[in-house]
Symmetry: C2
Subunit: 330 residues, 2 copies
Amino acid sequence: MIKIAIDCMRGDFGPEITVAGVCNALAENDNLHVMLYGNPSMIEPEITAGTDRNRVEIFASEDEITNTDHPLKSIKRKPESALVQALKAVANDEADAFVSAGSSGAIFAGSLSIVGKLPGIKRPASVGFMPTMSKTSPHCLMIDTGANIAAKPEHLAQYGRLGTVLARQMMNVENPTIGLLNIGEEDSKGNEFTKETFQLLSEDETINFRGNVEPHTIMQGSHHILLTDGFTGNIMLKSMEGMAAGILNELLENINTDGALSKESLHIIEKSVHAGINRYTNVDAGGGFVLGVQKPVVITHGAAGSTMFKNSIQLAVSLKESDAFASLNE
Amino acid sequence: MIKIAIDCMRGDFGPEITVAGVCNALAENDNLHVMLYGNPSMIEPEITAGTDRNRVEIFASEDEITNTDHPLKSIKRKPESALVQALKAVANDEADAFVSAGSSGAIFAGSLSIVGKLPGIKRPASVGFMPTMSKTSPHCLMIDTGANIAAKPEHLAQYGRLGTVLARQMMNVENPTIGLLNIGEEDSKGNEFTKETFQLLSEDETINFRGNVEPHTIMQGSHHILLTDGFTGNIMLKSMEGMAAGILNELLENINTDGALSKESLHIIEKSVHAGINRYTNVDAGGGFVLGVQKPVVITHGAAGSTMFKNSIQLAVSLKESDAFASLNE
C-alpha cells in the first residue's frame, strides 16, 4: 500500500473537488491508501458511493492556511491546519507523500521546515513534467518551474545532477540529456547568468549537458531535462499554458460561426481541443513537486479540477514507486 | 509616396521570398515606393508581372552580411552590403523606413551606428505588436522582445515613457495602460529587477502604470503596453509562438486519424488552424522594430514567408504614416 497524505481543504473549490479526485484515484489504483486532512463534516459527504472505505482515513484538522497568509509564518502559527498536519504525517513516515492545491508558497515553506531538506541542497526548486509534442519523448523534466527566482549558477549545476537521478528513475532513461533554457542555441548566447551556468554545466562530467535550448525546440522533445532559473521558467510555463488554452478555446469559438459544420464534426473537434488543453495546461501531468526535500511533496494548481487533482495524487504515487526520492538521498 | 528601403538578399530564402512580398505590398498600397538593395540579377526575375515599375528602384549592392558575421564588426567591414546601403538611404532621408529579414544583431547594430539613436536614449529595445485574444484590444505593444537582455530598471522606465508615445500614435489610445511582466500580479511579486522597476514605474506620473501582469493575462488583452527585459520577453515570445504553431499543427495531424471527418469539414478546420498560426506566430503582425533610433527599422523573422515579409513592409509604412517616430524625437 502506498499512503498519500492529502490536504483536502484548499484549492479554489475545496473538498468538493479534492475529494472527488481522491475517490477517482482510489478507484483506479488498488494499491493506494489515502489520509485525508480537513473538516470531516465537509469531506465525508463528498466521498462517492462505492469507494473502498478501508483505504480511506480522515483526520480532523482545526485550521486552514489561505493564499493571503504569509507562507513561512503561517506554517509556524497554524500547527493545527490540514496543510501542516498532512506534511507532519509525511515527515513522521506515516505517509509516503503529500498532495495539496493550497498556497504554493506555504507548501514550499512547509516542505522545507517540516519534511526537511536533503543533505547538501543549496536551494530547493519546483519541478514538473512539461508536456512536449514528441511521441517518443512526450515529457521533459523541467527544473525550476517557479520556486528559486533568484537562482545562482551553482544552484542550476546542482539541479543538473539531481535531475539526472530523477530522470533515470522516473523516465527510464540511462543518460538523460540536459538543455539550458536560453534565447539562442549558440554557446555564447544569453546573459551573464546563463553564460556562467553554461560553463558550470559544461565542466560537469557526471551529466549529459547538450548546451542551450530555446522554448520552441524543447517543446518538440529535444531534451529529457530543461534547466532554468525559477523566474524565467515560470514565465515560460505560463506563456505556454496561456497560449495553449487561449488559442484552442478561440479556435472552438470561431470555427462554426457560419454554421457549416455538422454536430458530429463539432463534437470531434471539441474532443480534440479538450484533449489538447488538458495535455498542455498541465491537467494531465497533475502539477509539480519540490526538488530538494526528503520525500515527495506535490503542489497542484489552485484552479485544479477533480481530474487534475486525481492526476496529482497519481504523480505522488509514481514519485514514491519510482524510488526517485530514495535515490536522491544517496 | 512613402519610400521603404529593403534589404532583399537575406532571410532564409533571399529574393525569391522578399521580392514576392514586395510585389504584394506594392499591389495593396498605391502610396508605396520601394528601394530594393541586393543583386539585381537575382531581384529582377522575381518581380511579378503587373507590378508598377514606376514605384520600384533597384540598387546594386556588392556584399552580404550573413548570420555568422559578427554584428557590429560586419557593419564596418561590409559597407557595400545591401543591409548597410539600405540603412544609409534611411539615414540620408532618401528613404522613410527600412525592412530586412537578415541578422537581427547586425540590423540592430546598424540601426544604431548608421540611422542613429534618439537623443537621451539609454539602451534601445526591440518592439513588437503582440497579438492578444481580445476583440476590443487585439494587440499589445511589447517592449522588449529580445534586444536589451541585460536591462536595468531605468531602461524599462524609459521604455514606459517612449511606449506611451508610440501607443498613442499607433494604437489610437489617449492614455495607454502599462503592465510589467512578472510571475504574479501582487505588487510585492518578482525578483530584485522587477521590484525596482515596479517602484520606478509607480513613481512616474506621466504614464498609466497598472502594476504587474502575468503572461496568460496579457494574452487576454489586459494592457496596451507590456514592459519586460529582453531576455524574459524573448523567452515569453518564443514560448507563445512555439506553443501556438505546435499545438495547432498537432491538432490538425490528430483530428482525423480515424477518417470520420468529411473533406469539407477538414477544410474548414485547416483554414481556422492556419489563421490561428498566422496570427499567433507573428506572421500577420510582420515582425518587430527598433525603439530608440531616429527612424523606423523593421526586423522580421529569418524564416518569414512572402506574406510575413509583405506585412513587415506594411508595418514600416504604418510606423512612418503614424508619425510615431517623429513624436518620439520631440
